[in-house]
């Protein structure tokens, strides 16, 4: 590199300039080469699509870590990039739906609400959870709700029962106790729907009989 200037006395300062550029280069290039972002394991087009969804979620105030976590899990399971993008897009849309229904709730509740929708609940079934007391959140209710549907409890029954428990002011321990009993019965071999019907009647603040239809032959079992 040659510098043409009027005074030879200016050469040292230009040398310093080039030295600074070289210093920056030596620091910047390894940093670029390392690229610690785990999303880089995706193919470029899938990575771009996932990042676009993450940016969109951030822009809308949605918890983008839900999408990032989905992508990272897909990468860990060595799932095809296109399938990862499909899942991220699906969850992004569920987050938007949950946000539209629940309003301004925390990110964790939005993720839990999206999970309930993902499990198979209908969007309008989330609506009763919008009204809430101060300092009360629906994380336990949503978590148990999604679990029950995932384990095979009919979606309508699980939705109406969980909603009623929530509206009756059931606490976290009540939801957790219900889940513990139902999954225990399922593990013992009981049909998920029957196990749920049995246990919901034992639960404090249980829903009224006309909301949840008990299975045949179990109508006269005592409650609590």
């Amino acid at each position: 590199m040659t510098c043409v200037s009027r005074g030879a006395s200016r050469r040292p300062s230009l040398s310093l300039l080039w030295g600074a550029v070289a210093l920056v280069l030596s620091g910047a290039l390894p940093a670029v080469a390392q690229d610690p972002d785990p999303l880089s394991k995706l193919d470029p087009s899938s990575k771009f699509a996932v990042e676009l969804l993450i940016d969109s979620a951030n822009t809308l105030g949605l918890p983008s870590d839900y999408l990032r976590s989905t992508a990272l899990q897909g990468i860990a399971l060595k799932v095809d990039g296109k399938r990862i993008v499909v899942e991220c897009r699906k969850k992004f849309n569920l987050l938007k739906t949950a946000h539209a229904i629940l309003g301004s709730v925390g990110g964790e509740e939005l993720k839990a609400g999206a999970s309930v929708l993902y499990a198979g609940a209908k969007p309008n079934q989330l609506a009763p959870f919008k009204a809430r007391q101060q300092n009360r959140n629906d994380l336990e209710a949503f978590t148990i709700w999604a679990d029950l549907i995932t384990r095979g409890v009919p979606s309508e029954e699980a939705s109406s029962a969980i909603t009623k428990l929530w509206q009756d002011g059931a606490d976290d321990a009540t939801f957790y106790g219900l889940w513990n009993n139902v999954q225990s019965d399922i593990l013992k071999g009981l049909n998920p729907g029957a196990a749920f019907q049995n246990r919901i009647r034992e639960t404090p603040g249980r829903p009224t009989a006309n909301k949840v239809t008990p299975p045949e032959g179990q109508e006269n079992q005592s409650s609590r």
């Binding site: 043409v4 899990q73 990468i75 399971l77 999604a146 679990d147």
Partner: protein, 198 residues
Amino acid sequence: MIDSELDPYVEWIAREARRPVVTDQAARDRIMASVRAEPLPQRRPRLWERVLEPRAFRLSPAGSALIAAGLVGIGVLAGGFVHNRDGGLPVGLSPIAVVPQTQLPVSDTVVKFVFVAPQAGKVSVVGDFNGWDSTKTPLVRAPNGAVWTVELPLSAGRHLYSFVVDGSWSADPSAPLAPDDGFGHANSVKLVRRGSAL
């Protein structure tokens, strides 16, 4: 009119001064060339003049490429500093930035993960708290040989996780299930409140 202007000598001088001078064009060119060849008066330039003075550079293609690469590097570093997709700390500039982005910055509660697998040779836990990396959080086998445990600080909230037992993913039988993640596998859910875990 003053008296001096009437003086014949003054008039003569004035007339001579007003008369056009006829010079040889070649001589004029020689004179001007000599003037232009003279160096400009030297004055020590001020700092701002030195900074603002235009300069001409000649760069080789390799040099140009080197500078371009340097500018790209600066851009990448600056971009990482001012923008982080997850709203976290920038990557590559701070010691904290070497922590994976998915790791939660605040740990509210120490959560104990327990998995019973007497026949397993290796058990680890993966989740949204460690970027689903099976190498990051191995469980330790208890002295009785059947129970594997690890304690992990987690922030308050809802966490998805799974155990990896000898390379196979397995949900926690003692925790609620999350729906199928779309990849053919259902994770477990850990709810962490400040100071306690479900």
